[in-house]
Symmetry: D4
Subunit: 220 residues, 8 copies
């Protein structure tokens, strides 16, 4: 079985190709890698690549990858050309960092400047308040939070930009591996928050790119 | 079948008797009312008494009740003697008022002074900030909120008192009739929030009384 | 209790005030209406106002409202000034129309031009294919779909714009009042779809406004 | 305890015997193997046999098995005689391959010709479109997909054959280990899709055989 | 908004058009009816049309419909030409009859002969045993059952045909409006049962038609 | 902390003491064992003792235990005196054996004669039919089944004795670790089935003893 | 369609025939009634017959029924002959009475003496303690409780008889229409509690009869 | 990224800083430890620190920690000054000890005297009864229980103090990793129980401190 990386998708949607590693058999992943390494001019992004999945690759492939363990992402053949746009990635707590970094790495790979501000969760509301001016400068805000996920609600009441909530699977008990954070974001009484799947920093970055790019195409 | 209002419980726990009307057959409710009206010296509280349940009572019983439709509570034979203690009941939005009033009416019935502050939900954080000084004066805070229920998280990061969260069944879709609010409160990263069942303003008031009364018994 | 419509929120976020009617006691709704009618220069939007809720208002209030039963929305004191931006609202089937119209009415109220294209669900893929050129013209796409909610997945593979998925509670059995549509959208393998709560056409419109407005503020 | 492979079932339903390995104690599995190897004229199929379960068998037994790790199936004593019928097994993505191969291996074991077409998921709709002519040639289609599982919906709108959807446990977050894919398939607005349990490629192959065989018996 | 009944779907899949009434606004339903009555040569099927939905139609439309209250179906402009094929619809109990009749009426509308056998649930196993010979004559079996839904499991162990399980929302408590019946059918240890959504007699009939028709096209 | 095995419970309910090992810290388990070995005249039963938990005990303790890996039970200081009563433990499949043996071992420990009949699941109904005469001889029947758990439904329609259903966590996908089996048993349309927690063979044996013993006490 | 009341079931299991009215179409119920009234020598029991279902019957049928609204049961053609055996039905609160009466009426219909003791819930533990001597006299105990359903746990720690727990759908919020009561009973740490479906007083009575009757058959 | 321990929170709420270790990447935990060890005058508490997390720290850090494996807590730089107040921590069973010890260790760290009474679960009601006098002496009661979690219900009917229920994830099957215990506590019919997240002994201790401290501030 030969893996087809999907040229047409990129042409039609402008979004670069990415390979979700989780759930793929090591043999399938190895075949994909074998094929992609033969296209040195095309950058690729791998997401949810665990340490084990990375270690199972052969040495030659590992050397070609820019692997980042905390975000479980790897970049092959460098990043895409830089483009305009400022995205802020904010997190409620330290445990949300892997997901926030997945978003930031995806943006970096797509050529977008991302600024990560950690530990601004609203259980200490002053932490967010101190950063409001910085946040007003961003064109899109990605708010990463687990547990009760109150961060995007408070942020959306204070800031006018597009806000993409990313619930995380942080927490225990009724945090329910992110379900509570997801549902809290979706039922937020703040207006106009949009949300991705649990832990989906990659998807939030793609959505941010859709927003930034729309602007380019319209105003270019 | 004769209804037994439970004298022993009051003696042992200090909590007054209350009758949950919801789920009781109209005939059962009528029998209970018949029996309790024969004890004019004992105050009783009825909770979750819908308009329909109230209207189904006979006229004589209706006249004896102090019925409050918004909170669906009724008081028979007046309130208990006033006692010390200041409780603040805060709500995120207008839709949380029925539950907040259930808490306030229960406190009133138990002789406790309750102050209700509505519409301080954190999607407009300044609304809570403006009331912080008032809130610091309360001995116990009951925070009533639905949907994402972020109010107790922010409040608990700013205030040192006991905070009892009451999730409400307000909202639609993934608000899930209060499940999301409940789980968000329980998985709050703010420290030391305790929670009651969905829409249980009565239970929050009882818990507040346990806290206030402990103080009396210990320090009297 | 006096209802506070929240001037500060509008100032800070640029989003106009809206009143969610569902879950509010008729008495509360009447009080709110009484207060808002005294501000004839300020437009207001009411959402999820059922026929019953509308009929329970007094005649004078009803006359002031522009009520739209299919979308269950009402506008008081006219719409906001027109602004630039083209939003397409697409639906999978006829049953999704109430939610699609909630989005379109909210956009209309906020001064944004919205184009509604119904019945382009992918069980008949040619229906979407025929409208692709029209869709390429929109700056933001709101995709409204229930049941298996496959519409945004296919659309996002063909179109480069921001795509906001709105799951609907249409269907029976395991459609689970919209949960399946919501989860299918969130776990779409198409890149960069963002999602709102079930049936939340209003929220999708607000998110679209955040995207359109960002452009104005940045490029004006 | 002696394992009874069920001759009567085969006689009555025409379906061959299969042993589900998952959940069986290694000792039970070893006893079963011991017994079946003494019937060299009867082919047997083992499903969900993990690498660990295979490795725990004794060497003599391992040698007798035709083990296929990706599909976690093993065949003992060869396949059943070939029969007529063309089944297509299609998958949305690479991660669905183990389940697709379980279906294909079961068909192969039952003597049916199966054609596997991978990576035709509808987030890139052109991939399915290119294969429509091939698909029209099949008598039964098994559509294997996880996450939002939109593949059978689009296929069922384009093709007239029996379509058996097999949801997979691929994905994370609200993919919910296959529940979302299952529910999306069941609530598809395309007509006449039938569905098996999550990851049940074996069951889909059996259902295909029931369909193919009905034809034989009726028309022979 | 003009309703588009989907000619293309019929051409491509061979399945006739059907209108799901549940969840459609009365106004939408009336518009659809207005349009379809202008095509007197095309038969249409309406499903899940409640007594209330039927009564809300205007008199002229009602007269044109062949309405069947127990199955909540209506047929407009007669049935499709008869075709070969024998389908048996069996039910576990009397409460499953509405769903069984939805399947039977859909088959009748599509020109297929359907035989309904009620009350053969396996809590009285002899009831099924007495009908086995009749059942062996059918080409496809649709097994309708709620609660524990054990009927298709027992039937599939005794009969070689394609068996389509239709779980019903019959029962209370943990019957969970059909979820238990659905999950029991999906996790049946009998081989090769396929399943539709809860209460989806229409879908089962369409699947049966896909099976019957495949035979025609292949062998004609 | 000293473990208190509960003499009073045995005196009041007649049920012997048992220690649930799962979920106990190895240190706690070791302390308990230390204490119980000092009471050589009192038999004790340990349930859900995994191989790991057994291996973690010190050698002296291990020697004193009669450990049975398949059922994960251990008996200390022998069994209780034999008592009258015949209990049949039946299972649907081989994978249900660990739970069935937990029931049988508990009965053996309590001095009750238990007969285990495996592999009588109703997907091959003739297997149960062949054993009916044997089953009629039992005073209590414990029916152990996973997946769709149809066994107790069919058995309860054929047999007059008390039938205790024990759902097992066997299966995958929507088998949901036993939830489906549990709910199917609870919503069985057969009359008078009672049920225990998932995998709770121990509880079923205790319930059987309550039934057998009642007889002794009443009729002795 | 003619309703078959199932003679064979009674012969084989000794349990009398009962008709579950809920979920049956009024027309089906009327047909059943028509048929059963022609067998004046056979007693029948109807369960979950709502006031509306009863009122929809024709007058002649209503007169023949002994209808009991609180338990929603009706008896046709009198009760079965009295048999030995003493069953106690206990309830936690007044709201559990409908279910408790369904159990008691079913027992009465089957000729068994049932004693109902209400309001012995363990939030006031002394209420249960006062009745222990009475309870020791019963041969089987049916414990009916909703909400946290702690009653059977405490009772089973004090009493040696068979205890059948019946969870009720009493309560609100996380009481979840009886799911919490059901799960609490099933995961009770008291030994040997068995459980029925939520609100299934009828099933508990049937199980009690299986227990009582076993005794007769064995010892007669 | 530098970890910010939150001085402001302590100042505003009076609650000391704690670090939740679970879910934090080992690298993040190591950075935090590095920073905190440089503040030798400030005590810190670590919760949910598994043996693995502890072992992954460097030796110097390990030596500085007072690590307690059963409760998975560690204290750095000693405890806070002793304060007045008596808290009782009671558990239903031995398996609840880790959570109970987390509460007790947190209280010890905050300078509060905590008394732990284990194994007073109400399946043996006399065990609680024997300790009632001791319990009456406590100012706050923390009741730790899993499975059916009936302990706080019975305790709250006998004792007048504030009662904080902590559900535990003990048990299997429908114990659902603590969900059943949580829901049973929340829907208790005893008055005024408040609840924390599953296994959240730390949160219960913080809530107890809020209650004790309120008293100091009011009465000092």
């Amino acid at each position: 079985m030969v893996f087809k990386h999907d040229h047409l998708r990129r042409e039609r949607t402008g979004l670069p190709e990415a390979i979700l590693c989780e759930g793929k058999h090591p043999h399938s992943l190895s075949e994909i890698m074998q094929e992609l390494t033969q296209k040195p001019d095309t950058p690729f992004l791998f997401t949810r690549m665990s340490d084990d999945a990375y270690e199972a690759l052969n040495e030659g492939h590992k050397e070609l990858l820019d692997y980042h363990p905390l975000s479980a992402t790897a970049i092959l053949h460098g990043c895409l050309p830089e483009r305009q746009g400022r995205v802020a990635v904010i997190t409620a707590g330290t445990s949300d960092l892997p997901v926030a970094h997945e978003a930031a790495r995806t943006l970096q790979y797509m050529g977008v400047n991302a600024r990560l501000m950690a530990d601004v969760g609203v259980a200490g509301i002053w932490r967010l308040m101190e950063r409001l001016d910085e946040l007003r400068d961003a064109e899109v805000i990605i708010a990463v939070a687990g547990m009760d996920a109150a961060l995007p609600t408070v942020a959306a009441g204070l800031l006018p930009q597009p806000i993409i909530g990313v619930p995380t699977s942080v927490g225990y008990g009724v945090a329910n591996r992110g379900d509570t954070a997801l549902n809290a974001m979706l039922s937020s009484c703040a207006q106009g928050i949009v949300v991705t799947n649990i832990d989906n920093g990659f998807g939030a970055a793609c959505a941010a790119l859709r927003i930034l790019r729309r602007q380019e195409s319209t105003h270019a």
